[in-house]
């Protein structure tokens, strides 16, 4: 069974980069452009891991995370924060909310894949058969 990964970021660029990085693996990638949509998808689809931005319009990452932790069905979903903001108050807050990891932007492709791989099993997609 492929891993279900939810990417929540208001930047389409970041979501596209994550999508490209995960393309070689058997994953079902879900996307949301803010915390409100992310929370709805997390509740409905129960992903295996969420890659979450902090600074977003409508609902920020910390609010989404707080609401997730209050809900029995989503409170244990592992979350990796991926944000440009290294403010110590934010880091302390998300640490209290039990985030699995914290990555600051800009990020190296290999670092992100390694950290996702520590949370869910990333199985490579089988190679496409050669064209006849």
């Amino acid at each position: 069974m492929s891993a279900k990964i939810l990417s929540v970021d208001d930047s389409r660029m970041v979501r596209s980069v994550i999508s490209r990085l995960l393309k070689p693996f058997e994953v079902e990638l879900l996307e949301a452009e803010n915390g409100e949509i992310g929370l709805a998808i997390a509740t409905e689809k129960l992903p295996n891991v969420i890659i979450l931005d902090y600074n977003m319009p409508v609902m920020d990452g910390v609010t989404m995370l707080t609401k997730m932790r209050e809900n029995e069905s989503t409170k244990s979903i592992p979350v990796i924060m991926l944000t440009a903001d290294a403010n110590p108050q934010i880091i302390a807050t998300v640490a209290r909310l039990g985030v699995k990891d914290y990555i600051t932007k800009p990020f190296k492709d290999a670092d992100l894949i390694a950290k996702i791989g520590r949370t869910v099993q990333l199985v490579p997609r089988p190679a496409a058969p050669p064209a006849a």
Partner: protein, 163 residues
């Protein structure tokens, strides 16, 4: 610390942030340059602005990248076959996120100096490049970068709050 030393420090922070973002996120090397002409200031650019607010200072990051270069970067990132398929919203998304990342790196450097701040989500627009001037008693660093033959400008401004 003198104003020149402050400006030099700001310049170093901006240079570190810019080089890291270009290399890590766009996989393109950027080289700081002082060779530019006034004509380059007339280039139509995608501009990202990130404001920084802290208890001890306020600041701004302005990133300006020529439209054709952003179009080519966006085409690759979003996987469009045709450059004409890239919309203005795509251009603004790319530069907004790059300026956000630069803002984050500069904020981390300022944090190492004991200055905390939060970042405001980026403002994005398509404008003619301008030469930024320091406002009031703000320290300002405007640097120019060559990346894949394109002139990028980065301005970092910081103003201490005096009580």
């Amino acid at each position: 610390m003198s104003s020149d030393q402050e400006r030099l420090k700001l310049h170093k922070m901006a240079a570190l942030a810019m080089a890291e973002v270009l290399d890590t996120q766009l996989h393109l090397p950027g080289v700081e340059t002082e060779k530019y002409s006034l004509a380059d200031h007339d280039t139509l650019c995608v501009k990202g602005h990130v404001a920084m607010h802290g208890p001890q200072f306020t600041g701004d990051i302005f990133l300006e990248i020529p439209v054709p270069f952003v179009r080519s970067v966006a085409q690759q990132i979003f996987g469009f076959e045709n450059p004409a398929d890239v919309q203005d919203a795509d251009l603004k998304d790319v530069v907004g996120e790059l300026s956000n990342m630069i803002g984050g790196r500069v904020a981390a450097e300022l944090l190492a100096e004991g200055l905390t701040c939060t970042l405001v989500p980026p403002d994005k627009s398509i404008v003619t490049r301008v030469k930024h001037e320091a406002k009031d008693s703000a320290e300002l660093s405007q640097t120019y970068w060559l990346c894949d033959g394109n002139l990028i400008s980065l301005t970092v401004q910081k103003k201490l709050i005096t009580s």
